[in-house]
């Protein structure tokens, strides 16, 4: 087990203490926040990976565009070649009508090819950027091809087949040359783009190998740290709570848990501390009552019975020494010793009664006091005072310890009244008020000597000192009012908070 020395959670005890002291958020909120952060970091890592794959796709797209442009130009070149062949065939047939018919078809096909090539070049802007003469050359072709065709149609219409043949050899051949050089140049650019794209793809692939695992690792780290934090922020207080419970079980009531923060565990900690304090109070009270009860019994025996017996022994010894020579004197002393022994017997019976009363079986205070009063009244031989117990207000539960003490105070007051006051009436009034509990024991007897009241009383008589001690112990105030021949009134006040307060209630 953990050493039990740690009184409270010492914030400096573990380095991360302060982190867990500042638990402002409730556990649910804390968990949600942590999960959100983890989810966000996972999304971020996925985004990075996605971006990297996109980066890898770009070079391959460029590669395909360049190939596309290259193909378009090759097709253009082929069509231009076809154009020259058709013109050559038509020239040899010298059929002007067919020439003009086919010319329209050729024109359309050529223009479509040029447009396709232009489109393909637009898709691969890198080619025009690297070699700006390519679009210009294409423009030239676009302008020159239809015009050469128109001229050839006109010349054929005029029947000048010679001029057509000449043009075929010169201008159209130039265009074919231009076209093939264009094809060569675009192909060269496409080659370059291809090489570059392959290189880019390789770089991207290498980067992917670093970036994706790194992002994953970072996400994992965030998840681990947050998970650890959340777990610790819950388990650290729980462990402390457990050690607090252990301490309580051992009887160390002063152990307080200290979480700080204001989450559910902090509330639990406060409740625990409160419970521990309550337990402590209960325990102290019981212990105090136990110790003081034993102390009281010891003192009572010492003050009454024991002293009487010591005195008696000395008297008997004296009698023994006087016999047989001084028998008259011895008898006198023996008679007085017998009287003293009878008194001692009453004292002893009172003490035993006091002990028996210390565990009041019946919860009903009024009933217990009535029973005692009846007993005392029965003991009174020479006179019998009227005895009455009145209860005012609704009877409430008192803590057993309180009830015992109150009963003993009442019992002492009653014994005084029955034995010493010569009263005609003795009354007990128990009042359960909202504000306080009150007990009154009243008689109309001959009152208590003022010297006794002032605390200089004969030991063992009246027991005023003991009554005051008991009253102080339970937090009550005791007032004794007495006047010669007017009677005595003992009044006990106990504030309601102490008398029926929750602090006393057994759960």
């Amino acid at each position: 087990m953990q050493p039990t020395r740690m009184k409270t959670a010492d914030p400096t005890g573990h380095g991360l203490g302060p982190l867990f002291q500042r638990r402002k958020l409730r556990i649910g909120t804390r968990l949600t926040v942590c999960f959100l952060i983890i989810a966000l970091s996972m999304i971020a890592a996925d985004a990075v990976a996605f971006w990297q794959f996109r980066q890898m796709a770009a070079p391959s797209r460029r590669l395909s565009n360049a190939d596309h442009a290259s193909l378009a130009l090759v097709r253009l070149h082929l069509d231009v070649d076809t154009f020259r062949e058709r013109v050559a065939v038509l020239e040899s047939s010298q059929d002007a009508k067919q020439f003009s018919n086919e010319a329209a078809e050729l024109r359309q096909s050529l223009l479509r090819d040029v447009q396709d090539a232009e489109q393909a070049l637009r898709m691969a802007p890198e080619i025009s950027r690297e070699d700006p003469t390519i679009p210009a050359a294409l423009e030239t072709l676009k302008a020159a091809l239809p015009s050469q065709l128109d001229i050839a149609v006109q010349l054929s219409g005029a029947g000048d087949w010679m001029a057509v043949g000449l043009r075929l050899k010169q201008q159209i051949q130039d265009l074919i040359d231009l076209c093939s050089s264009l094809v060569a140049r675009v192909d060269k650019q496409a080659q370059q783009q291809r090489a570059k794209a392959i290189q880019d793809a390789e770089t991207a692939r290498q980067r992917l190998f670093v970036v994706v695992p790194l992002a994953g690792l970072l996400t994992l780290l965030v998840a681990v740290v947050l998970g650890w934090y959340v777990t610790q922020s819950i388990t650290v207080p729980l462990v402390e709570l457990a050690s607090g419970a252990d301490a309580l079980a051992r009887g160390d009531f002063c152990h307080e848990v200290n979480f700080g923060g204001n989450d559910e565990l902090a509330v639990l900690g406060k409740a625990f501390n409160h419970a521990a304090r309550q337990l402590h109070n209960q325990f102290e009270l019981t212990l105090e009552a136990r110790v003081s009860e034993r102390t009281r019994i010891a003192r009572e025996l010492h003050d009454t019975l024991l002293q009487s017996f010591h005195g008696l022994l000395l008297r008997f010894q004296t009698v023994s020494q006087l016999l047989p020579e001084r028998s008259v004197e011895a008898k006198e002393k023996l008679d007085s010793a017998i009287e003293q022994a009878a008194d001692a017997l009453i004292e002893g019976r009172d003490a035993v009664q006091g002990l028996r009363d210390s565990t009041l079986q019946n919860n009903d205070l009024a009933m217990a006091i009535s029973t005692l009063g009846e007993e005392l009244a029965a003991d009174s031989i020479n006179y019998r005072p009227a005895f009455r117990v009145a209860v005012e207000g609704e009877s409430r539960d008192l803590h057993p310890i309180l009830r015992d003490e109150i009963y003993k105070i009442a019992a002492e007051a009653l014994r005084n009244a029955f034995r010493h006051s010569q009263a005609r009436r003795i009354e007990v009034e128990i009042r359960y008020d909202k504000e306080e509990f009150r007990l009154r024991v009243r008689d109309d007897g001959n009152g208590i000597d003022s010297a006794v009241l002032a605390g200089r009383g004969r030991e063992g008589h009246f027991g005023l000192h003991g009554m005051r001690e008991r009253a102080t112990l339970i937090g009550a105030t005791l007032t004794v009012w007495s006047e010669a021949d007017a009677g005595t009134e003992v009044e006990l006040h106990l504030p309601s908070g102490t008398a029926y307060g929750t602090a006393w209630r057994r759960s």
Binding site: F253, C254, H280, E284, L287, E288, R290, V291, S292, R294, T295, A298, R299, H302, D303, L306, Q307, S308, H310, G311, L312, L313, L314, R315, F316, Q317, T318, Q321, L322, R326, E329, K333, Q340, R458, E459
Partner: protein
Amino acid sequence: MSGDISQIRILAVDDHPLVRQGIAGLIGVQPDMVLAGEASTGREAIQQFRVLHPDVTLMDLQMPEMNGIEALIAIRNEFPDAKVIVLTTYAGDVQIVRALKAGAQAYLLKSTLHKELLQTIRAVHAGKKSLSAEASYEIAEHATDDTLTPAEVAVLRLIAAGNANKQIADQLSITEETVKSRVKNILSKLGANDRTHAAMIGLKRGIIEL
């Protein structure tokens, strides 16, 4: 008072009238003794001593106002030759030793008073020291025990008064940890099972008083 010079003049100090009466009765029938006076508190005892200069003083220990030990010390300070016999109900070894150290000539238990009182008075008057048999057993029993330190006694006294560790710490201006370790020492030195038991042993042996 009797003028016989050979009689032992005795002052009886006890707060219980029955005991004083008993002592007075027994001494009253001894030809060689006379009761010079009585007192019921320590303070009264000192006053009476100054006035009467008794040969032997019988001193109860547990008394209101000023207890027997304090009165014994005060009397011995003023009259170093005073012969005092301590009377008590309980035989607590610590209390016995304390009384002897304070200058008592004899230590008598009240339970054996009727047998031992007279011969003890005569012995003390003759200049001897004396101890009840039971008191000597008690001292022998604990002679080899570890004694409590004054600090531990202070803690034990507060325990017996029903205080918790925290309250004891506050009252003695020490830490609760210190209180705990002292309580542990007290339990082990006294061989007590718990705090209440320790308090009871402390009272029984006279380490602390009611």
